[in-house]
């Protein structure tokens, strides 16, 4: 069988002022008709860049310096835009990593689908609309008519992701490149979308290049896997083969790092760690903070009582009727000192909002919040900020695009008195970056010069550098490959033990939640429907909503290799 796509010795460089970044250094890939090839690998290893270069859509600063990309025998490297357009869409379809910004905000979904349909299928306006309708149906959208009339901002993240798939699938491409198409989705929606991709390959023989870091997704969907690291492919093979018997050491590390439900007790001893990752213990201490006499563990550090939050939309002067959205509804909850409290719930259930409320970042509509015994609305904010930190959900927007990442870490250190001098702050910054697996040399880059996962780690570094007593982590590892994720999780655990920290951990990867957390709370439409010990996740008396989340977890097809 001849490959639809073959990539040979691809090299891609970024020209930065005063430096060259070799993002891709010799990638070789083949994708065959009808197969799903999963591309996994370290965050920042060049997956997205490889994908973009196939379609000739690299950013202006990037250049293919060597190698060839052949699609159905046609060389794509060096082709002018006009010639590439022949292959784009009809030949190769692409689903980008970030669905939120990838749809045109000024046109309705119907118009965007219709344009694509008319371009590739050469049909009339009405027929194009029909095609759009059918495709929305196919990607599992319940009311296609409404969605056709909607603008992107009026849809939820999952819906937008599905629209992207419809857009890419509609022209019937021979090859579909999907860059982390399910990262932002909760487990239920994720499963739907993957099944849809599988349908496509089955029906039309479309080949899929699926970039992901979720091994559940890999084993559920792909027939072959390619593993990428530091700009090059290190291993390719049948999925079962690679997952079952990885050859390359890095692949092995990756597989070992995959969190699986029930892993919590895989290791004996009271210190729970993911063994695949290099242990940090012994060197996690950032500053010379001596472990103060440990206050009694078990005391509540954060207490929420009857907390509610309503958002007002519209009202006087905006020309819209005033409506309110009740994002958090009468939540009562307490987080104990030294524990890791997990918060789960479907997308939009109010997890992030609750987290913001806890630190006094949003005014309360009702209820009361105590931090370490004092009301957060009354407490000295300066003191609160030193002891209470966040890792925000969206690392891209939580970083200031115009400030070098080093400064973004240094400034709060100085401001909150963690460092007494510039020099000390800089040292702490390098330590923190180092701990999250980024070298200090990254400090003078701007956020947009990082990959998605790298940005997320910077956010984490920024928060842990402050060594807060309570750290809220809002889906902190969603964009990380499993090995990096393991490293980060271990780091967090180390830090917690060392410094006696408390975490509020928000996530949708139940394996991770189960592994990391001590107790778990489930949110549904703003209400906390239950809380339980992590060990009781699978208890029979779980609420239906919790159960639904559990059911959608993709199992790893291959048995886990455990280290002996």
């Amino acid at each position: 069988m001849t490959a639809v796509l073959s990539v040979d010795g691809l090299h891609v460089d970024f020209q930065l002022p005063g430096a060259v970044v070799n993002a891709v250094r010799g990638v070789d890939l083949e994708v065959h008709p009808g197969e799903v090839l999963a591309l996994v690998g370290e965050s920042g290893s060049g997956k997205s860049v490889t994908a973009a270069s196939i379609l000739g859509l690299l950013p202006g600063t990037a250049r293919v310096t060597a190698g060839s990309i052949r699609f159905e025998g046609n060389e794509l490297v060096g082709l002018p835009d006009k010639r590439l357009n022949v292959f784009r869409g009809a030949g190769i379809g692409m689903i980008f990593q970030d669905p939120v910004t990838s749809l045109d905000p000024s046109f309705t979904i119907g118009s965007q689908l219709g344009d694509t349909a008319r371009l590739h299928l050469k049909v009339s306006r009405d027929a194009a609309r029909e095609v759009g309708h059918t495709w929305l149906d196919r990607v599992g959208i319940a009311d296609p008519e409404r969605v056709l009339r909607s603008y992107p901002h009026e849809l939820s993240g999952g819906m937008r992701q599905r629209v992207m798939i419809a857009l890419a699938g509609l022209s019937g491409p021979k090859l579909l490149i999907a860059d982390e198409p399910t990262t932002a989705l909760d487990a239920t929606v994720q499963k739907q979308i993957l099944d849809l991709l599988l349908d496509l390959t089955g029906e039309t023989g479309t080949a899929v290049l699926l970039i992901t870091h979720d091994f559940g997704v890999v084993s559920h969907t792909s027939s072959r896997v390619a593993v990428m690291r530091a700009g090059a492919i290190v291993e390719v093979g049948e999925t079962a083969q690679v997952l079952g018997a990885p050859e390359h050491p890095y692949t092995r590390i990756l597989i070992d790092s995959v969190p699986a439900i029930g892993q919590r007790h895989a290791v004996a001893g009271q210190e729970r760690r993911l063994l695949s990752a290099t242990p940090h213990t012994g060197r996690v201490q950032l500053s010379d903070r001596t472990a103060a006499p440990r206050p009694d563990t078990g005391e509540p550090i954060l207490e929420l009582a009857g907390v509610a939050k309503e958002f007002a939309i519209g009202g006087l002067g905006t020309g819209r009727h005033k409506t309110t959205v009740r994002a958090v509804d009468d939540v009562t909850l307490s987080v104990r000192r030294g524990e890791i409290f997990g918060l789960i719930g479907e997308s939009g259930s109010g997890k992030s909002t609750l987290a913001r409320l806890a630190g006094g970042l949003l005014p309360l509509t009702a209820g009361r919040i105590n931090f370490d015994g004092t009301d957060v609305t009354a407490v000295d904010k300066h003191d609160l900020r030193r002891r209470f930190q966040y890792v925000f959900q969206d690392a891209t927007t939580a970083l200031n695009p115009r400030i070098k990442v080093g400064d973004q870490i240094t400034r709060p250190l100085l401001r909150l008195g963690k460092a007494s001098s510039r020099k000390q702050a800089a040292q702490l910054t390098s330590r923190a970056l180092d701990l999250v697996g980024l070298s200090a040399g990254y400090a003078d880059r701007y956020p947009r010069e990082f990959s998605g996962g790298q940005r997320q780690r910077i956010s984490i570094a920024r928060a842990i550098a402050l060594e807060p007593d309570l750290l809220i982590l809002d889906e902190p590892t969603s964009a990380l490959d499993v090995s990096t994720q393991a490293t980060i999780l271990n780091l967090l655990l180390d830090l917690k033990d060392e410094l006696d920290l408390t975490y509020l951990f928000i996530g949708h990867n139940l394996a991770v939640i189960e592994f990391v957390c001590d107790r778990i709370g489930v949110l549904k439409q703003g209400s906390l429907i239950e809380t339980f010990e992590a060990d009781d996740l699978f208890a029979a008396d779980r609420q239906p909503a919790t159960r639904a989340l559990l059911d959608a977890v993709l199992p790893l097809g291959a048995p886990l290799t455990t280290k002996d």
Binding site: N85, T101, D115, T318, G319
Partner: protein, 316 residues
């Protein structure tokens, strides 16, 4: 939407009231004296006093202000102090002329500014870009006194292509075509300043749009350059265009004074200048109120248009 418009219109009332107060008392604060200015050159003190009484200028300022306010509502601004003619007859026609020139200027600004900005933006960094930006930069920084004269001498005296000034050919019948012909040079000259701003904004918006993720999506689907540029970038840069256009309208209306002088355009600029010089309060105040109302209305239209253009803000 309707409520928003109504709300803004309600807001207008205190705004205009403050403007009127401000204008009135600022013009009174100066040392100028309407009667002295206009007539004093050739008149004695008693004569001046006599006229002052006749015009009611011996009354305290607040009472004059109230008078004028009443006039504003009853007869469109009262009587001009310097020429004893109804203010409405002086200000409104001139304002209409300024509006005509202003509208033409805005049209030229937008058409040329958008065109240049667009071409520059899509040819970002190339020669065309540099040349186009240089062109608008030069244009907007040419002293109008100098450039206006050069235009007149080139187009009217050296070559008889365009009229030398004014709004109508006094020998002709003054049709619409004639008006357009007279508009070309002053509208072009007046548009140069704002053209730079519009062009720069459009250019920046095009560059930004072109690098945006959704344009990348279109490209990945194999849309041709022209289709992407024309339809999608075009639509997405409309809001900044509308916004900057709204912003320039104010400057155009108050800023055409110099252009009006050089091109003998019978607009509000010279009326205001004369009135200011003669401390002709009723004329000054009515004129500025008109400008203010126009500006606020343009702002309102801009905001409404922006809402209509931006689906994220639109009421669904």
């Amino acid at each position: 939407m309707v409520r928003q418009i109504l709300w803004r219109l309600v807001n207008l009332v205190p705004l205009l009231f403050v403007i009127s107060l401000l204008v009135f008392f600022i013009s009174q604060a100066g040392p100028a004296d309407p009667i002295k200015d206009v007539l004093s050159q050739k008149m004695s003190a008693e004569q001046i006093e006599q006229i002052r009484q006749a015009y009611g200028l011996d009354q305290p300022a607040w009472s004059q202000y109230l008078h004028w306010l009443r006039d504003m509502f009853t007869n469109g601004g009262g009587i001009s102090l310097s020429v004893r003619s109804p203010v409405s007859g002086i200000v409104y026609p001139a304002f209409l002329n300024t509006l005509i020139l202003g509208a033409a200027t805005v049209v030229v600004t937008v058409v040329l500014g958008v065109l240049i900005g667009f071409v520059s933006g899509i040819r970002h960094g190339r020669l065309v870009d540099r040349a186009a930006m240089l062109f608008v930069q030069i244009g907007s920084n040419l002293p109008i006194y100098w450039f206006g004269l050069i235009i007149i001498w080139l187009t009217a005296v050296w070559r008889n292509w365009l009229p030398a000034g004014g709004m109508h050919d006094l020998r002709g019948d003054g049709g619409f075509g004639d008006l357009l012909l007279h508009l070309i040079a002053p509208a072009f000259a007046a548009s140069l300043v704002s053209m730079l701003i519009v062009a720069r904004f459009v250019r920046a918006a095009v560059i930004e749009s072109a690098q945006s993720d959704y344009i990348r999506t279109y490209r990945s689907q194999g849309f041709g350059r022209a289709a992407i540029l024309g339809k999608h970038i075009g639509r997405n840069i409309l809001p900044p265009i509308v916004n900057t256009t709204g912003l320039t309208v104010g400057s155009v209306i108050t800023g055409v004074v110099f252009v009006e002088t050089i091109f003998s355009w019978p607009g509000l600029g010279s009326v205001l200048l004369n009135a200011i010089a003669g401390s002709d309060y009723p004329v000054i105040q009515s004129g500025i109120l008109l400008v203010a109302v126009t500006f606020v209305i343009v702002n309102l239209i801009t905001d409404v248009l922006l809402d209509l253009l931006n689906p994220r803000l639109r009421h669904s």
